[in-house]
């Protein structure tokens, strides 16, 4: 196995492969940056081009493109508050808030560095997991997936902000998200739910128009109303700490970054959880790292840890998602489903062979992800501080550009007018939620997890009756859920009691 590991690297460094990977990187760079144009769609569009390439070149191209998308998507999220990718929306919460405070450079540095760490952890996990991946994936059946969704929903408590009222709002927002996930045809009896006789809604609401609307529109309105530049809250014209500070932040909170990378990898490994989930759970976890209620308040207003968590997770999940794809031929995410097509195009059958006969190819994929991300982050750093200056440009100049990107981005979902209507509807909703101080993150989490929770609950019940509740992994996850809900409360309780002991 060790020689396959080294061979994999050598094979990627051959000039044809390297060149083709660079091409993929350039493509992925722009795809990530532009909101709406997704990594998955681009992968599909690139498939016809790999026909004449060797397997190593083909995957260097495709993975070079795809692994970079989550890195540059963070840039758009931080600078403009528009999600560059469906998987980089969580970075907006604190990243864009930092940009408004004039710390865009720092946020960008943190996002990029954590993306690199996440990508490395994900790639590393891919390399290490190869012997153990089959039993791991096979243990997670429908009951376990349902419990994982429940754990995810429990994170809503962390995403909700302080106090009883905020918690209530958070849970209501989460329930609203779950309700919105119901739209479409139910998979058990084929009944149309909330589709109002619209063909467009048969498949439910698409993530991109909802996300872009929910996050971009309030920011745009805010920008227009303020009449200043994005970094409007800055007292004078100079930008705050730059990208290098963001890099230092990543290492200052190194263990948080690593933990969130591991969360992302794990969620990527389990097929069925999808890309939208990892970033929010990582964000929720980062919030839990707050040591007291004052720090809790800081999240959503520009705490760099809120950038590190999602930034790492949305990259590491790519490495994780590759694992079930290669080992089982079951895609860990929608992008992986398309990558599977590439496997067949190259005449390869994903499965045990990839971990055996074609081990060098598998390792070349790992190395591609590592090298592609290193190159992207290194190149981006050269002009991060210039990019940050965009936040000094007057809003009136930027708004048409951002609005244009947001509209086009939403439209690429289905090339249908319905996309724009959904975008506008959620835009309004997002705006009102901000005005009334309702948190949006729980809504997104509910929306993303709704289908997973419902389908797996149903499958578990039909298949196993009620006995699935007693499966060992399910019980562990129930415990985990309780910990997630109760932990922040305990931590704050401890802090509060400690000072009062001193005064007593």
């Amino acid at each position: 196995m060790l020689d396959a590991f080294v061979q994999g690297l050598l094979v990627v460094l051959q000039w044809q492969t390297f060149l083709v990977m660079l091409l993929g990187i350039v493509l992925g760079f722009w795809v990530g940056l532009l909101p709406g144009l997704g990594g998955s769609t681009t992968l599909a569009l690139m498939l016809p081009f790999i026909y004449k390439m060797t397997p190593v070149e083909a995957f260097a191209f495709l993975l070079g493109m795809h692994s970079v998308v989550s890195t540059t998507g963070d840039i758009t999220s931080v600078l403009f508050g528009v999600p560059g990718e469906g998987t980089t929306a969580a970075t907006i919460l604190d990243g864009h808030a930092m940009a408004k405070k004039g710390e865009a450079g720092r946020a960008l540095g943190a996002a990029l560095m954590s993306s690199l760490v996440g990508a490395l952890v994900g790639a590393f996990a891919l390399a290490l997991a190869i012997p153990v991946v089959r039993p791991l994936v096979l243990t997670f059946g429908a009951p376990e997936l349902f419990m994982l969704a429940v754990v995810g929903i429990a994170f809503i408590s962390s995403l909700s902000g302080q106090g009883g009222r905020a918690l209530l709002r958070g849970f209501l927002a989460g329930l609203l998200g779950l309700l919105i996930a119901l739209v479409g045809q139910d998979p058990q009896a084929g009944v149309q739910r909330f589709t109002f006789s619209q063909l467009y809604l048969w498949g439910g609401l698409d993530l991109i128009p909802v996300l872009v609307g929910l996050f971009a529109v309030p920011e745009i309105v805010d920008l227009a109303v303020r009449g200043t530049s994005i970094a409007g809250e800055l007292p004078q014209g100079n930008l705050g700490k730059g990208a290098w500070e963001g890099v230092k932040d990543t290492f200052r909170h190194f263990w948080l970054t690593i933990r969130c990378s591991l969360i992302g990898t794990f969620i990527g490994i389990i097929p069925g959880l999808g890309g939208g989930v990892a970033q929010w759970i990582a964000y929720g976890h980062a919030v839990q790292a707050a040591r007291d209620s004052k720090e809790r308040e800081g999240f959503g207003k520009g705490d760099v840890r809120g950038v590190l968590g999602p930034g790492a997770a949305n990259n590491s999940k790519e490495g994780g998602a590759l694992i079930p794809t290669i080992a089982f031929g079951v895609p860990g995410s929608s992008a992986m489903a398309i990558l599977l097509g590439a496997f067949f195009l190259q005449g390869l059958a994903p499965g045990p062979d990839m971990l055996d006969k074609h081990l060098t190819l598998t390792f070349s994929m790992v190395w591609t992800m590592v090298i592609a991300n290193i190159i992207t982050v290194a190149t981006s750093f050269f002009f991060l501080n210039q990019l940050a200056k965009l936040t000094l440009v007057r809003g009136a100049v930027l708004i048409p550009f951002i609005l244009f990107l947001a509209f086009i981005g939403s439209y690429t979902s289905n090339n249908h007018l319905g996309d724009l209507i959904v975008f506008l509807f959620f835009g309004f909703l997002g705006y009102f939620m901000i005005r009334c101080n309702w948190p949006r993150a729980p809504l997104v989490l509910g929306f993303v997890l709704g289908k997973i929770a419902e389908n797996n609950f149903y499958i578990s019940t039909i298949r196993y009756g009620s006995s699935w509740l007693l499966r060992p992994v399910v019980l562990i996850l129930v415990l985990l859920t309780l910990i997630v809900i109760v932990y922040p409360a305990i931590r704050l309780g401890k802090r509060r009691s400690a000072p009062s002991e001193k005064t007593a």
Binding site: L45, G204, V330, P331, G351, I462
Partner: protein, 337 residues
Amino acid sequence: MKQLKTKLWILACVLFVIGTPFLALGASYYEGKTLTIVVGYKPGGGYDRYARLLAKYLPKHLPGNPTVVIQNMPGANSIIGANHIYSVAKPDGLTIGTFNNALATAQLTKVEGVKFDLTKFAWLGSLASDAVIMVIRSDLPYKTVDDMRKAKEIVIGTTGPGSSTHDFPSILKEFTGLNFKLVPGYSSSADVMLAIERKEVDGRAGSYDSIKPFIDRGLVRPVIRNRISAPGIEKLPVDEELTKDPKGRAIMAVNAAPTKIYRPYVAPPGTPADVVKILRSAFVSVTKDTEFLAEAKKSKMTIDYALPEEALKVVREVLNQPPEMAQEIGKYIKFGE
């Protein structure tokens, strides 16, 4: 590239000699124009991949060598795309489309939202047929249908009503007395495959093409097929033979019929007859193009071209069912996303 250009010139000269009026229309018609193929699904799926392969090779079989591009119009299991080709796309030969083969059943059972009449499209043929099969996990003791009848319960995973993974077993269950327990709700057929590997479910149904790699790997074993045969599964029992109920047989036949025209292509109704003729002959010649066939084979896409007349015949066969039959069919074959 140079060889291609030479070939094209020779083709043009030959055509000129053979049929000037034909060529006069064709060469001036598609010259410098763009042909759009509307695909009723998102990029990456089966229909999209076939269309993109077609887009790559079709230009050199169309006089005038136009650019061929893809326009994805997903939604409602391609009903949105089909509606668009039917009433919105201009019938000038510059737009053609592909959609779900099962739309014939959707039209028959009067699914809400269907705004087209399949018989009015200008049919261009179908690129492939597909067999629907049912497979069981290899480590289970059932080898024949009789074995399966003895089983207390066989758990079949599906992706929900409206897909072949669900309709095929549900009809089998109703009419052949096999003890299937359907577990719908998996988000994709790949997830059902993983569930089989996990021993969460015992088997599944679906397209032979997509299940074949797993049969070859030894994970599953095919046990039943629909009336469309394919190399490797000819000897399997056919679903219609497993029931004596004439109603059941009719429903199975209607369910199976569209899979003969698995990748249908049409032009909007009202496209001028001579343009349709050009398109049809382009389809005939591209499906004989050796490079096209080689690339399709490498990408594991089978090509089994059905002529427009055959396609229309299949469609009519489905649509001519009497209303009571349509109602019965509607009970078992739901239309879904």
